[in-house]
């Protein structure tokens, strides 16, 4: 496990951080430099997460990988219905929310099954 993977992300964050500082100094407007600073902050957070989690220690071929995920299809259909429902009406939002709930529940179920499968693989 090494935090070195986060270096490109941190470099990018620092570089656009620098350009945002220059823009803060140079411009009378607020939104443009705020966008850049926000981007730098977002990437710093991601870099920190990567640095803390590091690279997967075990060779990845030993990991149990989900092959089919119908729950994901449910999540997708739920999101699409909710977004389209924002225009077409509350009924579609509610249908979408229901499908999304099933999908998210399925994700939890899949994650638990995946963990059990990984334990079996690890035990071999």
């Amino acid at each position: 496990m090494t935090p070195i993977s986060a270096v490109p992300l941190a470099c990018y964050a620092v570089l656009i951080g620098i350009t945002s500082v220059v823009l803060w100094v140079w411009t009378p407007y607020t939104l443009p430099p705020a966008l850049l600073s926000g981007g730098a902050l977002l990437m710093l957070v991601i870099a920190a997460i990567v640095a803390l989690r590091g690279r997967t220690a075990k060779p990845s071929v030993d990991r149990a990988v989900p092959d089919l995920s119908f729950a994901t299809v449910g999540v997708a259909l739920g999101i699409i219905n909710i977004l389209v429902g924002l225009y077409l009406g509350l009924y579609l939002i509610l249908i979408g929310a229901g499908i999304l709930a099933f999908g998210l529940g399925g994700w939890i179920r899949e994650a638990r099954a995946q963990r059990r499968a990984r334990e079996i693989v690890d035990a071999r």
């Binding site: 070195i4 993977s5 986060a6 270096v7 490109p8 992300l9 470099c11 990018y12 570089l15 656009i16 350009t19 945002s20 823009l23 140079w26 411009t27 009378p28 407007y29 939104l31 443009p32 966008l35 850049l36 981007g39 977002l42 990437m43 991601i46 990567v50 989690r53 590091g54 690279r55 997967t56 060779p59 990845s60 071929v61 030993d62 149990a64 990988v65 989900p66 092959d67 089919l68 995920s69 119908f70 729950a71 994901t72 299809v73 999540v75 997708a76 259909l77 999101i79 699409i80 977004l83 389209v84 924002l86 225009y87 399925g106 994700w107 899949e110 099954a113 995946q114 499968a117 693989v121």
Partner: protein
Amino acid sequence: MSTATTTLPRARGGVLGLIASTDHKSVAIRIFLTGFFFFVAGGILALLIRTELYSPGQQLVNQDHYNEIFSMHGSTMIYLFVVPISLALGVYFVPLQVGAAEIALPRLALLGWWLLIGGGVTMWLGWFTQNGPGDAGWTAYDPLSDATNTPGDGMYLWIIGVMLAATSAALLSACILGTVMRRRAPGMTLLRMPVFTWSMLMTSILMIVAAPALLVAMGLLFWERVYGGVFDTSGGPIQYQNLFWFFGHPVVYVMFFPFVGAVGEVIAVFSRKRFFGYRAHVAALLLFTALSTSVWAHHMFATGQITVKYFSLMSTALIIPAGIEYLDLVGTMWGGRIRVGVPMAFAVGFILQFLIGGLSGIFTGSPPLDYHVTDSYFIVGHFHYTLFAGSLFGFFAAFYYWWPKVTGTFLRTGIGWIHFVLLFVGANVTFFPMFFLGYDGMPRRVADYDPQFTDLNRVSTIGAFIIALGILAWLVNIVVSLVKREPAPDDPWGGHTLEWATSSPPPRHNFDKPLPPIRSYAPLFDARSGQTAKIEKAEA
């Protein structure tokens, strides 16, 4: 859900596999097929545009329908074709190049494909609404796109479609980023990653930083259309443009970086040389990525409400990393034993044509010149040289190069050359006249024009149909090669990177035998040339 381990060698096929497989290779192929469908749809719209512009006056469509056609052409090509296929390349090949058995967050990759389909279908459903689809350009500037100026359901569906497509792109980027960060094989350090993987890492970073701005812009635009009060204040439209272009400019590089990386791989392999200036290339990519995030408002010079000097300076600074990358690409060819082939032809075509796109970009990055050509056909020529004559040639280089890996068969070389020649001629005949048209004052987004522009418009229209013939040749090549299969070995080109160390097509978990030693960014080249042994001896 069923759970697979390494004992399951093949991806699930059939209908179930089609809708729910999380295998990154299968997801990438489905993204590609979806993007291809929208490419054909957007291409038909392009032919309608060019047919209308063959002569002055209005022949095929009126101005309102013309607005719909060019808006949907641009939106389809950018949100539903080029961005998705750029990311599809990464979804397929990044796990292979870093020696991973699987992409990180495979469910999110599958979700990304579904949201892409949802976005595309939603956007195109606008054609069936009373007022037609969104017709405010691919940028949907406010107040042009508000409920007063663009009434009707189509614009709402367009906004929702863009939100879904942008979310899809962000999710796919997260998968690629996660794979590079957490799934690299032992020995695959950052500075041993292939140039294509580096370019996909930078692409992912750009998309993850930029996509939220587009989602916010679309959300606010939706609110503005329903309730008002968001952008109808002093400076409101400029705020929208800032939000939009904070996504809109980096996305140009999302549509460029993957193809630079792919072209780099093709050139190195077809020059039978290691990639020249690898570390400088990586540093240039990083600088390129940072600068490309910092230049968005050069699209807004004409508004007079941005800090012109800053954005002009940053835009001009892009020449530095671009120059380094070009030097590396040409330097890789220099002194190499170049093998002439269709992938190499498209790679060289990419270099030449993107150069024209880049050089015309220097014009638009300079405010005095930009004021002259803004909103003219010069701009249309510029971005079509970058996105079509550039990126699409890079895509075809990648397509011909990696097709044997994905399918286990060769494409036909003869038809490939016909495809290349038609596309090269067609692209230049179509887009080069646009520089003169724009410089002489023909505005973009018009269905009718002054008769003085007739000749160049006719040349451009003829070029568009030559492009269509080229695309037809490509499709014929695909069909012929799939029907009459010519089997390809696992490594037909003498590849340098790990995807060529596995079977064609790769098994479910990518590698069914141990990976070769990874001592550089070109492990297979090292193994063939005896470099691996030398490096290991030196390390010992």
